[in-house]
């Protein structure tokens, strides 16, 4: 009777687990496979026709504007990741090692709050702050500086990326560093290690996995973001997500947009895979 009950129980439990498997198959694996197939389709009279032609690939891969967008997106997403990691680290360090437990909890709660509001709304709010007649330039004007052009520039795009990624990066870095065994840090200090050397040789290596995961998340979000480069960067140098929109907008070239999307996915896959391999690589002498 017990065995029978367990079988029934497992079937019941499986019923609840199956949706996520189906969800992934239907809404991720399926669409990705369809997108790959679609990149070989042809568009005639605004309608996609099933085909197996390489014309979309050859057309996009030979266009200068595609590679301009590709390298620009790669570059600015890397810069965004670097900036977010550098800006977040001191804050996360202070929260992990200097702040009291309750302060850290409040700080993490406060870092989550921005996610309660739509990212688009947060992005639009930067217009008031960054425009030439905005808050920043008004303040700078009092000390005789400016006005500086911040909207519709790479700087604007970066501000948007930071809005999207910085809270997440700070949270991930804080949680990672807060879990480091403090006795190892104390041991390093007792053995005469300077504070800076302790950071480089103890804290960063011990939090390597979390830091790399934070960087990967930051890169992925920046690389695929449409809102910041479009609204704050003024689409001045189109990123790949903007190029996807442009490609679909005229002539409904979804197959060519699929080519761009696949290139993005491949790039992200390579970077994420390399990052994770690096994060979990064991150092010299480790078992």
């Amino acid at each position: 009777m017990s065995e029978k009950y367990e079988i029934r129980l497992n079937i019941y439990a499986l019923t609840w687990r199956l949706p996520i498997i189906f969800w992934q198959l239907i809404f991720f694996v399926g669409p990705v496979l369809f997108m790959v197939a679609m990149s070989f389709f042809l568009v005639k009279n605004y309608r996609m026709n099933e085909a197996f032609e390489f014309v979309n690939w050859s057309r996009m891969m030979t266009r200068g504007f595609f590679w301009d967008s590709y390298w620009y997106t790669l570059g600015i997403a890397t810069l965004s990741t670097f900036c977010a990691m550098c800006v977040a680290f001191p804050a996360a360090f202070a929260l992990a090692f200097r702040a009291a437990e309750s302060t850290r909890r409040w700080a993490i709660f406060l870092l989550i709050i921005p996610f309660f509001t739509s990212y688009l709304v947060r992005t639009f709010s930067w217009f008031v702050i960054l425009s030439e007649s905005g808050v920043v330039n008004a303040v700078l004007g009092y000390v005789g500086l400016g006005p500086f052009k911040m909207l519709n520039t790479d700087f604007g795009t970066l501000v948007g990326y930071m809005t999207l990624t910085l809270p997440l990066v700070v949270i991930l870095q804080t949680v990672t560093m807060a879990n480091i065994d403090k006795s190892l840090i104390e041991a390093a200090r007792n053995l005469g290690c300077s504070p800076l050397r302790t950071i480089w040789q103890v804290i960063i290596p011990l939090s390597k996995t979390g830091l790399i995961i934070a960087a990967i998340f930051c890169f992925i979000l920046s690389f695929g973001d449409f809102v910041a480069p479009f609204y704050l960067g003024g689409s001045q140098e189109p990123t790949l997500p903007i190029l996807i929109l442009d490609t679909t907008k005229s002539g409904q070239q979804w197959p060519r947009a699929a080519v761009v999307a696949i290139m993005m996915m491949v790039t992200l896959f390579v970077i994420a895979f390399t990052g994770i391999a690096l994060a979990y690589r064991k150092g010299k002498g480790s078992k």
């Binding site: 266009r63 905005g134 003024g234 679909t248 005229s250």
Partner: protein, 379 residues
């Protein structure tokens, strides 16, 4: 040994509870559906604004219908949405005039009876037989409204005299302050006009097309950004952009009414007209309701609503509509130059040959224009 069961917590669902909840949901659905069925739903495919309360709420209340709008941006986006939907999905289709021909060629729209609409009351003779709206003597679309694209500028940095030519976009003081509405068609059309192509602005041979590309590229250092509707609106409002290529009163009009020092004029090289028309979707089961709504929009009251649309204004196309607008909202009629004798009266501009109806490229494909536009943006 303690063995957790699925019913060990009051928060955990067991099979009986799941079945009860599911059964209840299934059994009550027909009653909910019946309650909803009382109002006729009309599926509308349109640019943003046409299905909003300021346009349809009064009509909905009076006729017990409910509009379900699906908004698009750009004619080819609209064509794709129809192409990817089963026949009869959309009862009412608002289209840019240059795409009506393609809608008809693809069999997406129903033939309309000219007697149902006020074709004898049009402000311009072209509107009665608008290009592409008729085929083999049959009518397929009813022109609703229009608007003109020219030089849109901030009056504080561009003078009215300077705005008389597209050359003001190259003014050195505007470096980094000129914006583009991010759609190749109106922008390249205006560059084509600036190159002197006049009425054949869409029908460019290779030499003319190369020249248009060259002219456009020369404007690139002046450009401060590429924007959608919201971005264009914000850019002009906060002063980041002092002049815009590819737009007209349909955006500056909204800002102007709000007190912003912006305006749009048709320069000496000419302007472009966007024209919006209603068609009835092929296979629609609510064709009669759709026809009634088009008739309402063509009535003086409907034309006034269209001219005052909150999302973006457009000019009246019927004489009765214009008269009603002047009576109902003289200020808006004056602001939009819909007054007989006004030098910028849209109808006068058409008659003078300064306005060219927006079209698609004749000797190049849309993709050629779009590819160049992408190159231009990344230059």
């Amino acid at each position: 040994m303690y063995r957790p069961t699925l019913t060990s917590s009051i928060l955990t669902l067991n099979r009986r509870q799941v079945l009860k909840a599911g059964g209840a949901a299934v059994l009550t659905t027909p009653f909910v559906s019946r309650a909803w069925a009382a109002t006729t739903e009309i599926n509308m495919l349109a640019w943003y604004g046409h299905g909003e309360p300021d346009i349809v709420a009064e009509y909905e209340a009076a006729n017990n219908v409910k509009f379900v709008p699906k908004y698009y941006a750009g004619g080819d986006n609209m064509l794709a949405l129809i192409a990817q939907s089963p026949p009869g999905t959309y009862d009412l289709i608002l289209s840019d005039a240059e795409f009506v021909q393609q809608l008809n060629a693809a069999g997406y729209i129903e033939e309309m009876n000219p007697d149902d609409y006020p074709l004898d009351d049009m402000l311009h003779e072209d509107f009665s037989q608008f290009p592409g709206h008729w085929a083999d003597g049959k009518m397929y679309s009813m022109i609703l409204r229009g608007g003109h694209l020219g030089v849109s500028y901030n009056k504080n940095s561009v003078t009215a005299k300077e705005a008389e030519s597209y050359s003001c976009f190259w003014k050195p003081e505007l470096k980094g302050k000129v914006g583009h509405f991010d759609w190749h068609l109106p922008n390249l059309g205006q560059m084509s006009l600036y190159d002197g192509n006049g009425a054949s602005l869409w029908n460019l041979n290779d030499t003319q097309w190369s020249k248009v590309q060259e002219t456009t590229m020369s404007l690139r250092p002046q450009i401060g950004g590429f924007f959608d509707y919201g971005g264009t609106f914000n850019g002009l409002k906060n002063g980041e952009m002092q002049a815009m290529v590819g737009i007209g009163d349909w955006i500056t009009g909204v800002l102007e009414k709000d007190g912003a020092p912006v305006a749009s004029v048709i320069p000496k090289e000419g302007g472009i007209q966007f024209t919006e028309s209603y068609s009835i979707g092929k296979g629609s089961e609510k064709a009669e309701e759709a026809k009634k709504f088009i008739q309402y929009m063509m009535s003086p009251a409907g034309q006034v609503k269209s001219a005052q649309m909150l999302a973006y204004p457009g000019f009246c196309v019927t004489k009765a509509g214009r008269a009603a607008l002047i009576e109902a909202d003289l200020e808006e009629a004056k602001r939009s130059h819909q007054i007989d004798g006004d030098a910028q009266d849209p109808i006068t501009l058409i008659k003078e040959g300064r306005i060219h109806y927006r079209d698609i490229p004749q000797q190049q494909t849309l993709e050629d224009w779009n590819d160049f536009w992408s190159e231009y943006k990344s230059a």
